[in-house]
Symmetry: C2
Subunit: 258 residues, 2 copies
């Protein structure tokens, strides 16, 4: 299997500031998208509108043609969520698809240094640029819906009432984004100060420096009033514990110097 | 004091899908921005570029002219972060400012229902549309830098080496966004299924339904190798505990029917 594939560097995706934090590695970028619960999707305003459109959406990387593709191989991004009439019309009407920009950002820690200017965050962020088209084929749409549901809780799809009926299939809109370029940015490690501050004892003696780890935690699942399954299923229980612990470990690891 | 001010509804900010979740309340929208660690900022592509630009940035609501203004009063959004050369040039060169769209999304829970189509998330999201100009006045810039630093950890500014020196002031770029329109969207409560599924015992008897609370947690602060302040200061310690507990409570409250 081919590993360490990289996205091509072009004007729109080349990381300029702090470029040593930049990455073009497909696997690293896809992983950030797949572990971020909500993505932000931007597209150019149409007509006289001055403001770019920007929507929170749910999405996942995958390849319908090569469903066994590894996370580090070329993948499309499948989006679901508030697909506005405008977004659908623009995506449907354009032959190549609607140009969209997709961002995912995870905060791993607050980096507290001697002076505000060198404060930072530990984070992992990814930005994709690609062309979005509505998924029309029923089998691809079903496949993407399953993938998106299982991104929220692994195995959830098979543990619900499936398959969706005709009305559900036609009311659900999925966009497939063919990625053109992408980049990631990762900051990890300790605060870094300048010598001008580090050699002044009245500063180092009074300003606490370090990292506050930040991570997404899952609480004890709360059954709904109508729930009739008394025992919380293992696939939910174990995922909730595993995800919280995994996120916590990632935040602690990110605080260490790379 | 005037309360419950609302943003005007215009084409670009009117919530269409699930419009009962929409809000135009200034206080609610500003609060979402102020409690989201990383914002996403989009602006239209210049020239031949097909893709909207989209950047993670740090930002906070505030009024330099009326610094005591309440969260529910008209405020500007001050942005700091990776201000690209392009973003700065566009913001500086346009008389009205660069049209930017700013989004903040907080996930409060995973909402698990009988069928994938009615799955949802509890969330609070806000989108602002406004015009960005670089802050040129030194006193306004200093004021905004303090506000942005204290958004990360309250009182952090006064507990670091301040004020920034000349080199630090000129290397820091702050954008002031004059908000034109805005909207928020809030989903809370239990899963909601359709009668067609709720009345089938083979479904209700096998699918667990409920809410998995999700919240941002802060871990034990980790001192840097160079840190010389032995005792973790109270303003950090108490904030970390308070913020985690506050976020957790919000996620639990969001799981209740409104």
């Amino acid at each position: 299997m081919v590993r360490n594939l990289e996205y091509p560097k072009r004007a729109q995706n080349t990381v300029k500031r702090y470029d040593s934090r930049g990455t073009y590695d497909c696997g690293a970028i896809h992983q950030i998208i797949n572990t971020t619960p909500v993505l932000h999707v931007a597209f150019p305003p149409g007509g006289d509108e001055p403001f770019a459109a920007l929507l929170p959406m749910i999405g996942v990387m995958g390849s319908f043609d090569y469903p066994s593709a590894d996370i580090s191989e070329p993948l499309d991004c499948y989006l679901h969520g508030y697909v506005s009439a405008r977004l659908m019309r623009l995506a449907r009407d354009s032959e190549k698809g609607l140009p969209v920009t997709i961002a995912a950002t995870k905060v791993d820690g607050l980096v507290l240094s001697l002076t505000p200017n060198s404060h930072s965050m530990n984070y992992r962020s990814a930005v994709l640029q690609g062309y979005a088209k509505p998924v029309e084929k029923v089998d691809e749409k079903l496949w993407a819906m399953e993938k998106i549901t299982n991104k929220v809780i692994p195995d959830r799809w098979a543990n619900t009432r499936v398959p969706p009926d005709g009305a559900e299939m036609s009311s659900t809109m999925i966009l497939r984004v063919t990625i053109e370029t992408a980049s990631g940015k990762i900051r990890q490690g300790e605060p870094h100060d300048e010598a001008k501050d580090e050699k002044r004892p009245e500063i180092t003696g009074s300003v606490w420096t370090g990292v506050v780890p930040v991570y997404e935690a899952y609480g004890e699942p709360i059954p709904s009033k109508g729930n009739q399954v008394e025992q919380l299923p293992t696939y939910i229980n174990s995922y909730v514990a595993r995800a919280t612990e995994g996120n916590r470990t990632k935040a602690l690891d990110a605080a260490k110097e790379p």
